[in-house]
């Protein structure tokens, strides 16, 4: 009896391991939207066995980087391009032009001869506000970054810490690209109203959703999905324009690249996949015609600031150390 | 006496060091078949180490151990077939009395059908039949030690090693068990080596006593011989109490109290007086050898019943004739 239990236990335990044929996909896409996408992949390639490792951008990026010398992942699917650029610089990626790469808009893919990464969607910063809480306090809804300086918002705003969260840095870079050198003056002022710099990019939105802190600088997708969950939030895209980040795919450089990896990357920017992405994201990387997503601006591309992702990645160290010296107490 | 028997174990030049200190220094000892040998000495003298070396539990020593003329130094403890009993009994608490014995028999690969009979016979020998199903924790200390003994003798060892087997027990139980132990040893005739620091135990049990001190063997002889003719003051004093007067050893019971001053009498002043049941022990201060010489005198309780021997009282005593030196005689008479 004991032996049987032990045997079953070990069998179940072994089933937790990976085998060699399985395609390993690392992704930072949201848990709840992955199933719809991957079903489509499975329909197209029923023979390919795959496993998905999904976690937040920070953890996935840390994992990939820590696994640099001996990569586990075969492909990266929907991870922040800023991280991919970092991998690119460390020569961790393998160039590959998936089928249909020409349909991807130029600002949404790597411009190397053989692109090292290709975008699928972009998301942008937004201010998520809790309508009930603002009403309770009889406060106006802010519509721009400038509005957030209103002293009546003191202690009501949260934003992600740029050193802790990719979204946080995106917000910082967005502000920097519109305000230039005035950025630091602005941030000093804003700091007076900030209740908390969070460690996660979503947290300001969810805090706004539950009313913990009525105003959260976060990203549009999170705000819109909270609204769909029934939270009393409004998603505001600031008048100054939004910083944005691309979610992109890439092939990991390793000794043995699986055939299925290429197939997956092909599928991941195919029209059918793009159609599915467009149900959740206002901006998709390919130039196919899609329906507008509820809750986002009618012309989302116009809301996006003119940002070069590589420049943004390159400026990170300088901007973060400036941030530290300006806001250090 | 078993002296006529042939030599079973030979210990040749055995030394062991812990760091820079000797635990054993050049030990040479023969053990005869069927005899009961006691290793006697104060704690730390190396007697237990010697026993553990015999058992094969200690390795890395110099010298040789021979059994029937063959070296056994490289033989595992179990393969030597020596039974051993520890002071702490070392009975397995999770096994009943009979399971403890069975454990030993099984380890020695006794045939299954013989095991039960063997358990039965050793339990009978040790008077434990009624306790066979009990666990060690349900037994008294004396009973536990009997179980340990039964467990050790069950596999019919060639030599039985006993490491202070009685010292954790109460006086009464110890006394009782001592007799049982002696009887059992006689009955099965197993060569037995016992370590003890209790001289009374050693004298009453052993055929021969080996006295050890400071890692060395100082004397080996029959109990009587050791008591009567100790080779050194250490042995003399360790085996009972001894007065040393001008390098002559005089037992306290050999000093006689005299009622009046006379030829060969000496005088002293009582410094203490202890009642010890069947005798009385008196310490005297005398001027025999030097001004502060202390002499111990044991007086049987039915002698001198009319005297009180109070502290400070001055009394007279005689020393045995054969040990009194010319020196003393001349001075007193």
């Amino acid at each position: 009896m004991k032996k049987i239990v032990f045997f079953i236990m070990m069998l179940a335990f072994i089933s937790c391991s990976n085998d060699n044929q399985t395609l390993i996909i690392y992704t930072a896409l949201e848990n709840d939207i992955i199933p719809a996408y991957i079903d489509d992949f499975h329909k197209n390639y029923p023979e390919i066995k795959y496993k998905i490792v999904r976690d937040s951008t920070g953890i996935i990026a840390s994992k990939i980087l820590a696994e640099k010398d001996n990569p586990t992942a075969d492909v990266i699917w929907g991870l922040a391009a800023t991280s991919l650029i970092q991998f690119q610089e460390q020569e961790m990626l393998e160039g590959y032009a998936p089928k249909g790469i020409e349909k991807i808009k130029p600002q949404f893919k790597d411009n190397s001869a053989t692109p090292q990464w290709a975008g699928i969607d972009a998301w942008m910063t937004a201010i998520v506000v809790n309508t009930i809480e603002l009403e309770k306090r009889a406060l106006p809804t802010p519509s721009s970054y400038q509005d957030l300086l209103d002293p009546r918002y003191k202690g009501l705003i949260t934003m992600p810490h740029p050193a802790s969260s990719g979204t946080g840095y995106l917000i910082l870079y967005g502000i920097f690209s519109t305000m230039g050198e005035n950025t630091w003056e602005y941030l000093k002022e804003l700091d007076k109203n900030i209740a908390e710099y969070t460690h996660s990019g979503s947290k300001p939105a969810t805090s706004a959703g539950t009313g913990e802190y009525p105003i959260g600088i976060s990203f549009g997708f999170r705000g819109v999905s909270l609204k769909k969950m029934g939270m009393p939030v409004e998603v505001i895209f600031p008048q100054e324009g939004s910083g944005w980040e691309l979610e992109a795919n890439a092939l990991i450089k390793k000794a043995e690249i699986k055939e299925s990896a290429y197939k997956f990357l092909d599928w991941a920017i195919s029209d059918s996949a793009m159609q599915l992405y467009s149900k959740n994201y206002a901006i998709i990387a390919s130039d196919i015609q899609v329906e507008n997503v509820e809750g986002f601006p009618v012309d989302p591309l116009a809301q996006m600031l003119n940002i070069d992702l590589k420049e943004s990645a390159g400026a990170k160290t300088t901007l973060l150390s400036n941030w530290n010296s300006v806001l250090k107490k | 006496m078993m002296k006529a028997n042939k030599n079973l174990i030979q210990i040749e030049n055995v030394s062991k060091k812990y760091g820079n200190t000797f635990a054993l220094k050049n030990i040479n000892l023969e053990i005869f078949e069927g005899e009961f040998l006691c290793l006697l000495g104060p704690s730390g003298c190396g007697k237990s180490t010697l026993l553990r070396i015999l058992a094969g539990l200690e390795t890395n020593y110099d010298g040789k151990i021979l059994k029937n003329g063959k070296e056994i130094d490289a033989i595992e403890p179990g393969k030597r077939k020596f039974g051993m009993v520890f002071q702490s009994y070392s009975l397995f608490p999770n096994m009943s009395v009979e399971k403890n014995i069975e454990f030993a028999l099984k380890a020695f690969k006794y045939e299954k059908q013989k095991i039960n009979a063997k358990i039965e016979s050793v339990l009978e020998l040790t008077n434990l039949l009624e306790h066979r199903k009990k666990f060690p924790n349900q037994l008294s200390g004396g009973q536990q030690q009997r179980v340990a003994l039964a467990r050790a003798i069950a596999p019919e060892p060639t030599v039985l090693l006993l490491d202070e087997p009685l010292s954790a027990l109460d006086f009464k139980v110890r006394e009782e068990l001592r007799q049982q132990l002696k009887k059992i040893q006689r009955d099965i005739g197993v060569t037995t080596i016992m370590v003890t620091h209790d001289q009374e135990e050693a004298l009453s049990l052993a055929d021969r006593v080996a006295v050890m001190n400071h890692a060395e063997l100082v004397q080996i002889s029959t109990p009587e011989e050791i008591y009567r003719n100790p080779k050194s003051f250490f042995v003399a004093n360790f085996i009972g109490t001894m007065n040393n007067i001008y390098n002559k050893f005089i037992r306290p019971e050999d000093v006689k109290i005299s009622d009046k001053k006379g030829c060969n009498t000496h005088s002293g002043i009582v410094i203490s007086n202890e009642f010890r049941g069947f005798y009385r022990r008196i310490k005297l201060k005398s001027e025999i050898e030097n001004e502060k010489k202390e002499i111990i005198v044991d007086i049987p309780i039915f002698h001198h019943q009319d005297r009180s021997f109070n502290e400070g009282e001055s009394i007279h005593f005689n020393l045995p004739q054969e040990v009194v030196s010319e020196q003393i005689k001349e001075r007193i008479c």
Binding site: I59, N70, A163, I194, H199 | T59, G78
Partner: protein, 567 residues
């Protein structure tokens, strides 16, 4: 002449001792060395001296986070020790009722991932909290106080257990002597009770200090603008993927923890004399004041603990807090997150496997260190290594495991020699999670095994040897049966901790397996707080269930052992 007898037994024993040492060295020492090397290298792996340290001091919030960490660890240790001491006193030295139930309640915080306290605290005292309206406007749970409360909660059961054990038995003659001298209750407490549990108190303090220093779950949720050392580490590693400076920050987490380990070691040496006198059980006398006071106190603490759990249960069944409080069970329908997500059964299996091998390794190692003498230097080294995990933050363990096990080759420091990493194959398998769990929670079960083994006669092996029985036979037929209750206790300890742990495994989980506890973080982050609460509550109940099985088994065992077990 040198005798080296019975080669087979001895070789086997030496091999066991050596392999146990290697296990500890590879899985505890090498990752730390790797971390140290990382802190001295640039991203490409070349040696840069103290550049990363300089960088960290220059730009990090090092000083503030250090000060905050010290305040948090110190205050929560003191608060929790005070409460745990009261509770332990109530359950050992008074006549209050339902002690067994109270004791189980005190253990509840041990069964929950730290996220649960965070969620409960926010529901109770957050800006929308149930109680918040009773406080002034300037009140905020976010910040130092929030962290301190959450940490005090988190460390309470650990401290309670330590103090419970120290208070349970002692020399009653001291109290009888004091009674003869007509000493008062409070005076007896200060003059006799406190000194007699001095070692327990010191241990409790350092365990509490280390645990609260290295935890980053609570500060992350409830810290507000307050930075502590642990969040600094997560900021560099998770936020910026800067492992080099992350390693520097991790080393700072190790220093105070390491220091506490040495001070504690010192204290335990001085305490030894206290236990050697036969400790007798205490006869409780009736004391009305004591009864009433401690009943109120114990009920108060229990209500708080159960209250916290209830709030999380409430959170897990509300539709959308705080705006739609309609009750629902839909948050417990985890099947909709299965894709790339977690699996309840696999989580339990991995925890069971961790517990199974953890108990075996831990007990065997404690046995080899405590009861055998074959390769003394290795035994001593193993003993030292066994105590290190206590001071090792999970986050640091996880990162150093990735860094070490993922490199296909290892370069020997300050040379150009590279050797293949024979253990790289473990990476990406659940084996590494099991190993991380075993190592992460190693020290406490090691201490439990050691104290259980200390009670066993050290002549058993010698006795058995003269009976021709092998050491293995004695180990299985005597040592294991005698230590079965302790082994069970260790097993449950490993299981419970493997169920709740997040920090180490968050880096190590595989494509095929994600533990429930790790899934909580993702859920909380995406705003699915109710689901996060549901996950936490499920873990608590799985652990309570495991505990009940443990209690049942222990009872059964005690009936069987009643005849012979005197402990």
């Amino acid at each position: 002449m040198l005798k080296s007898n019975f080669s087979l037994q001895k070789t086997f024993l030496s091999l066991m001792i050596l392999s146990m040492f290697l296990f500890l060295f590879i899985f505890i020492a090498i990752p730390i060395i790797k971390l140290l090397l990382t802190s001295l290298s640039d991203p490409q792996g070349s040696f840069v001296g103290f550049e990363n340290f300089k960088e960290y001091f220059r730009q990090g919030e090092f000083r503030t986070s250090l000060v905050n960490s010290l305040i948090v660890s110190f205050s929560s240790s003191i608060i929790s020790i005070t409460l745990a001491l009261g509770f332990a006193f109530a359950t050992t030295r008074t006549n209050i009722k339902f002690k067994a139930v109270l004791k189980s309640i005190a253990m509840i915080p041990l069964f929950a991932p730290t996220m649960l306290y965070g969620i409960s605290l926010i529901y109770l005292f957050g800006n929308q909290g149930i109680f918040t309206k009773f406080f002034s406007d300037s009140f905020s749970i976010y910040g130092l106080w929030g962290i301190i409360i959450a940490e005090s909660f988190y460390i309470f059961p650990h401290l309670f257990l330590i103090l419970y054990v120290s208070l349970r038995s002692y020399d009653s003659s001291l109290y009888e002597a004091a009674d003869m001298m007509n000493a008062r209750g409070m005076k007896k407490f200060i003059k006799i009770t406190l000194p007699s549990i001095k070692y327990g108190l010191i241990t409790a303090f350092f365990v509490g200090f280390t645990l609260s220093l290295t935890d980053f779950g609570a500060p992350k949720i409830i810290g507000g603008r307050t930075n502590v050392l642990a969040t600094e580490v997560s900021k560099y590693i998770l936020g910026q993927q800067n492992f080099q400076i992350g390693a520097v920050a991790s080393l700072f987490l190790l220093i105070p923890a390491g220091l506490s380990f040495f001070i504690e070691n010192l204290a335990s040496k001085r305490q030894k004399a206290f236990y050697s006198h036969g400790s007798k059980n205490f006869e409780l006398r009736k004391n009305k004041f004591r009864f009433v006071f401690f009943t109120i106190f114990a009920v108060f603490i229990s209500v708080i603990i159960i209250g916290f759990l209830s709030v999380s249960i409430f959170a897990s069944v509300t539709t959308l807090w705080p705006y739609n409080l309609k009750l629902t069970l839909s948050n417990y329908d985890f099947s909709r997150f299965n894709m790339g997500g977690f699996n309840v059964w696999k989580t339990i299996i991995v925890a069971l496997v961790s517990a199974f091998f953890g108990s075996i390794i831990c007990f065997t190692n404690a046995y080899l260190i405590q009861k055998e003498k074959a390769l003394l230097p290795f035994q001593k080294a193993s003993r030292l290594l066994s105590m290190i995990p206590m001071a090792l933050p999970g986050l640091v363990l996880g990162i150093s495991y990735i860094l070490f096990f993922n490199s296909p080759t290892l370069s020997i420091p300050f040379t150009n020699i590279k050797i293949p990493n024979a253990l790289a194959f473990l990476y990406g398998t659940p084996v590494i999670i099991v190993i991380a769990n075993i190592v992460h929670f190693y020290s406490v079960p090691y201490l439990t095994s050691t104290s259980a083994l200390k009670k066993i006669d050290s002549n058993f092996q010698a006795a058995a040897q003269t009976m021709n029985a092998s050491k293995l036979t004695v180990f299985f037929k005597v040592f294991i049966p005698i230590s079965l209750p302790s082994l069970l206790e260790i097993f449950v300890y490993f299981f419970t901790n493997s169920m709740v742990t997040i920090s180490a495994v968050i880096f190590l989980y595989t494509a095929n397996f994600k533990p429930m506890s790790v899934a909580i973080i993702g859920m909380e982050e995406s705003g699915n707080i109710a689901v996060a609460a549901a996950l936490s509550v499920s873990i608590v109940f799985i652990n309570i269930f495991a505990r009940l099985i443990y209690i049942g088994l222990t009872r059964l065992l005690n009936i069987k052992r009643k005849k012979w077990d005197k402990f």
